[in-house]
Symmetry: C2
Subunit: 315 residues, 2 copies
């Protein structure tokens, strides 16, 4: 079957069909998104050499439990070892965890993927394949918002205008928060404004404008420095970025201003799917382009362009 691997910087190549083990489902992938982690992996972020991809929607073709067969699904991406009961929260930090298309397990940028049945989540009919492949990053965006302290006045600042930043904005909007966004791409800023955000000038931050709550979602050292600059004394910065490089930081600001810096990685997919199914969060207008899997190289190139938001593949 056709699949995307990072080995040797390759994109779409022929690999053997994955083998389904006990407790696993064979899923025919219908849609799969390209995210920051996938791009970072091409830049050497991990030593994973197999199939990549973890934001997906597909149909179960084989499973131990017949009830799954024919169902449209997505899934959690972190799995506990097979001798542990599955729980996405525990799995997230288990030292022997595997992560779909990231660590010790082939991913979903392929015609077929195998997924532990316990991790599968059924997609309701109201959620399209395109949206279903966005449940995982939406859950991550929700988790970032969940980590902000409650009840502090003023706009919440989103630093960055990319994939995750756009989703964070939609979560903030769904929760009736007032939010501002700072970014450098006019098209992407317009998208965020249409979703309810206020555009903030980077210059205002350099001039001293401060926010008590900041979510950093650029994935760049420069973005992290801007976020640390934008946060008010005793404020909170949630870091939601995959970084493939080290960052030079002035931590004396963190100490002197008694700032909280909180890392956030993956969220609760059921919760994200719930908001999507109820029509509270719409994501399809964020999809810049969809490519067939065979044109993955082109799709990755597109995903790196400054004006691209979400690029997806269709196996």
């Amino acid at each position: 079957m056709l699949a995307v691997t990072v080995q040797g910087g390759q994109t779409a190549v022929q690999v053997p069909l994955p083998e389904r083990k006990r407790g696993e489902a064979l899923v025919r992938v219908k849609r799969v998104g390209i995210c920051g982690t996938d791009l970072a992996m091409f830049d050497g972020y991990t030593d994973h050499t197999g199939v990549i991809g973890h934001e997906f929607a597909g149909v179960v073709e084989e499973a131990d439990n017949d009830a799954w067969i024919g169902k449209r699904v997505t899934s959690s991406i972190n799995f506990t070892p097979s001798d542990y009961p599955f729980d996405w929260k525990t799995a997230k930090h288990h030292p022997r965890r595997t992560a779909l298309g990231i660590r010790g397990r082939d991913g979903t940028m392929a015609e077929y993927a195998v997924i532990p049945e316990d991790a599968l989540i059924e997609l309701p009919a109201s959620v399209s394949d395109a949206s279903g492949a966005t449940v995982e990053p939406l859950a991550a965006a929700m988790d970032a918002v969940d980590r902000l302290p409650p009840g502090v006045g003023g706009d919440i600042l989103v630093v960055g205008d990319g994939r995750i930043a756009q989703l964070v904005g939609r979560v903030l909007q769904q929760r009736h928060h007032r939010w501002a966004i700072v970014g450098r791409n006019r098209m992407k800023l317009s998208l965020a404004k249409r979703a309810g955000g206020r555009g903030e000038e980077e210059a205002n931050i350099h001039k001293g404008k401060r926010f008590s709550r900041v979510i950093e979602a650029t994935g760049s050292p420069e973005g992290i420095r801007l976020a640390l600059n934008a946060v008010a004394p005793t404020g909170t910065v949630v870091l939601k970025s995959t970084l493939s490089e080290e960052v030079q930081l002035d931590l004396s600001r963190v100490v002197v201003h008694e700032i909280r810096l909180i890392g956030s990685r993956c969220g609760d997919l059921e919760k994200a799917l719930e908001a999507m199914a109820r029509g509270k969060i719409e994501v399809t207008d964020m999809i810049t382009a969809v490519y067939p899997l065979a044109r993955a190289a082109e799709a990755f190139e597109h995903a790196r362009r400054p004006d691209a938001v979400k690029v997806q593949l269709e196996p």
Copy 2:
């Protein structure tokens, strides 16, 4: 009068007696400690050019309110501008704050200092001048401990064996926490162990030993990297260090392991003094040496030696 200033890297020099303004007290300084911030100021940490020093005990000689005259005192170190009501918590982050011997206000490494009366705290007879000059750093250590999340199992790890680390250990001990300390100086580690801490080998951290709660008190980039290495997934690192340089950090660990990094600066002096006055925390065994103010250069040199804990000056 004799005073220590950082201007031109000088130590003890002759300066005019400070002028007491409305609402301020003139304090004859009896004891003053050298802390990490004072050392960092000699390394260019701030652009303060006046008298330095902020950990002190003294006697009020003149004040608007007669009740203060003759009283033994120490004080908060952050002051709101004179058109604002005084409150140490607000003052700590006020954009126009002054800070004793650090920012916009002469400090206490001098024969006399002027202090806003609202910021004075009376020392009870049971607290010596030596201990009184340690209330401020003890309050800072308490604040660092207060920022740890409650109820998480396992030892609390203190990174560093210097001035603040030793005080943090004493606060942890007073609160009946189990704590471990990692440091490089045998004498200082012994001091911490006598106070109730368990010595932890740095090698164990490099081998993968993890702690859910870590307090970083080395003030060095290396110490911060060790603390980030030692913290378990979803754990908390409290940063209690004055850093005069930027730090190169792997923030992907903070994101992937969903770590909380919390800056802490100054604490509640009344609370620290309370614990000291009740005999719950003893600090005088931490005092390595006391020098007359005229020998400040020698005292600063001593404070920088690896085996020095707290060096104080006696004007």
